[in-house]
């Protein structure tokens, strides 16, 4: 998997590159918009991470040019401005996702995974399984081995999110956005409480323990 990172801040380039390399991606970094555009046009990438404020050429401009050349590589926008109009503009131009700075690396990684997977997952899976935990999408039912687990609608949505991304770190922000439709940062620990209740329900009397906390980052569903 090859990723193009267009970002002018060397500090950010350093940690993103390091992190992605450790996660078995190969990474090319471009330090300004023109260089980024050149790379994007000449090499085939699986995904592009694109900053908006760039020297020489604006990130939006880069995206516009890339899309006008019929290159449909998924693009994640990085933006320091968290004004909504910026985000909407970016998405309208054909970006697939966005992150506001300062962002957590794991947040970025999780979104990269989600985007790379997007094309591959079969559209309608009727059954999701991790270890002996089974989620029947059609019947909205969840089983751990033989034991049926009763979940509230929100817990069910939360579990489905985890089950669709097994082994991947799901951050609090992703949970807030995808499950609770909350698009702002909250200082509350309400997300953690929801996750820990879900964990209690699926892990009760069962081994192995499935839903783990990744400290300071989020949660992961794996055995």
């Amino acid at each position: 998997m090859r990723i193009l990172l267009v970002e002018d801040d060397k500090g950010i380039v350093r940690f993103v590159k390091k992190g992605l390399l450790e996660n078995a991606f190969s990474v090319d970094a471009a330090l300004d918009g023109e260089e980024g555009l050149r790379s994007a046009l000449h090499m085939k990438y699986d995904l592009i991470v694109l900053d908006i404020l760039l020297p020489k050429m604006d990130g939006r401009e880069v995206l516009k040019k890339i899309r006008s050349m019929e290159i449909q590589t998924p693009v994640i926008f990085l933006t320091a401005k968290d004004s909504e109009s910026d985000i909407i503009k970016g998405l309208n131009l054909g970006a697939d996702d966005y992150l506001t700075k300062p962002f957590s690396f794991n947040e970025l990684l999780a979104r990269i995974h989600a985007l790379l997977r997007r094309g591959k997952t079969v559209a309608s899976v009727s059954r999701l399984q991790v270890a002996d935990l089974v989620l029947e999408v059609d019947g909205h039912r969840v089983f751990r081995g033989e034991r049926k687990i009763e979940l509230t609608p929100k817990e069910y949505a939360l579990l489905e999110l985890f089950m669709r991304h097994p082994g991947q770190i799901i951050t609090r922000t992703m949970i807030a956005e995808k499950v609770f439709d909350l698009h702002f940062d909250t200082a509350t620990n309400v997300i953690d409480v929801h996750v820990s209740r879900l964990r209690n329900k699926i892990n009760r009397n069962s081994e192995p323990k499935l839903l783990h906390t990744v400290k300071g980052v989020g949660y992961v569903l794996e055995d």
């Binding site: 004004s83 109009s85 957590s104 609770f180 200082a187 509350t188 400290k215």
Partner: protein, 482 residues
Amino acid sequence: MSWKIRAKFQHRTDVKLTLLYILTFFLSASIICGFLYLRLKGQLIKEIDRFIFDETEELSAVLPKDLKEKEVPKNFEIGVAARTYYPIYFRILDGEGKILYMSAGMRGIVYELDEKAMANAREGKRTREKIHSPGRRRAFRFITTPLYKEGRLTYIIQMGTHLRFVRKSLSVFRSNILAALPIVLILGSLGGWILARRALSPIGYIAAKTRDITSENLNERITPRQTGDELDELIGTINGMIARLEASFRRMAEFTADASHELKTPICAMRGEAEVLLSKSRTPEEYQEGLVQFIERFDQLNQMINDLILLSKSDSSQVELNVVPVRLDLLIKDICNLFQVLAEQKNIALDIDPIQETVVMGDKIRLQQLFTNLIDNAIKYTPEQGMIRIALEKDTKMALVKVSDTGIGISEEEQGKIFERFYRMDKSRSKETGGVGLGLSIAEWIVHAHKGTIGVQSQLDKGSTFIVTLPLFHPEDRKFQP
């Protein structure tokens, strides 16, 4: 007064005003003089006419029925034709317009009896005419008078005199006016200049004073002149503005001080932790633990910076609200569902009163943030076994949301301050509840940006009720601009 030197001469207000005075003065003087001139002219002509009437009367009185004898007009002519100032010229015509008699002076004047005068005579009307005879410099005034005797037009008398003295009087009048007008204009413009300077001199004072006030000496004010006029009102307005500036400068300074304090504390803690962690070699678990704490503190810091950015943007109205019709009842239910687990952890009953469908115009994300802040606060400040009630009511214009808790309450004195930035009710107690005291400021901003109101009713140790009103959505007012 340097303010005067700065502006170009023709752009200076006093010059403009004076020019305006002069123009007005000149126009009105011209109109008045012109009017007087015409009146005088009319009056003089009328005088002449009366004089001619008298003479005509005299002549007609002595005129016999049959003008065979020329004695009568001849005698009359001797009496009037030799006058020095107003010699009378006349002729007598019969009903058909044939000349019966003509005075000697009349012979030199080319003057035809025209159709109109004849027609007037037949109707018994007089005709007044001003005659310019070719070869004669002066104009003449003639009046044609028909004479009826026994119902029959017997004679037409045309009698007149020259207008030399009328012209002379008028030309004297004209030259008087032309002589007087410049003097009046000069005096008027001088007066106008002085008036303009007088009226504008306080403005120079105000300008100079206002220029001297900078961010350094915002406590100073312009002294009013105690005249109670418009300029004093202006001074009052400027002073009010300076006062508001001063207040906002002070708020900003306090805010900066608070913000830097709140930012410094966690940074200091982060640095300290890192230093301690590095001071000797430790197990990987210890490093991991330290770094996790680092990230958690960082997240708190980031949250606070985001809040600060939001608030400072809201101050300069940079935040764009994405205003659409929002189902407030569903939004509140969702947030209650979200927080139900937190309430249960503390054994707090979180209940919503039955609510009906309510649509407001608003930014969904900001409204979520608003009620998240309020409900989160309610849970934080309510002890175990407590109760939180949420009610949504509406009237024709506003939706009213009440968030009531049985928490620690807010003293009356503090109720006014809780919406201030960085205000924390009890500094020692709130450390454990987290937050830096920006939540309610943000809530207040969100409500105001939606043209709503927010207030609190509270009793210490009994609980608090936050009351939010938001304008309802009416399908017809889609033009709503926050």
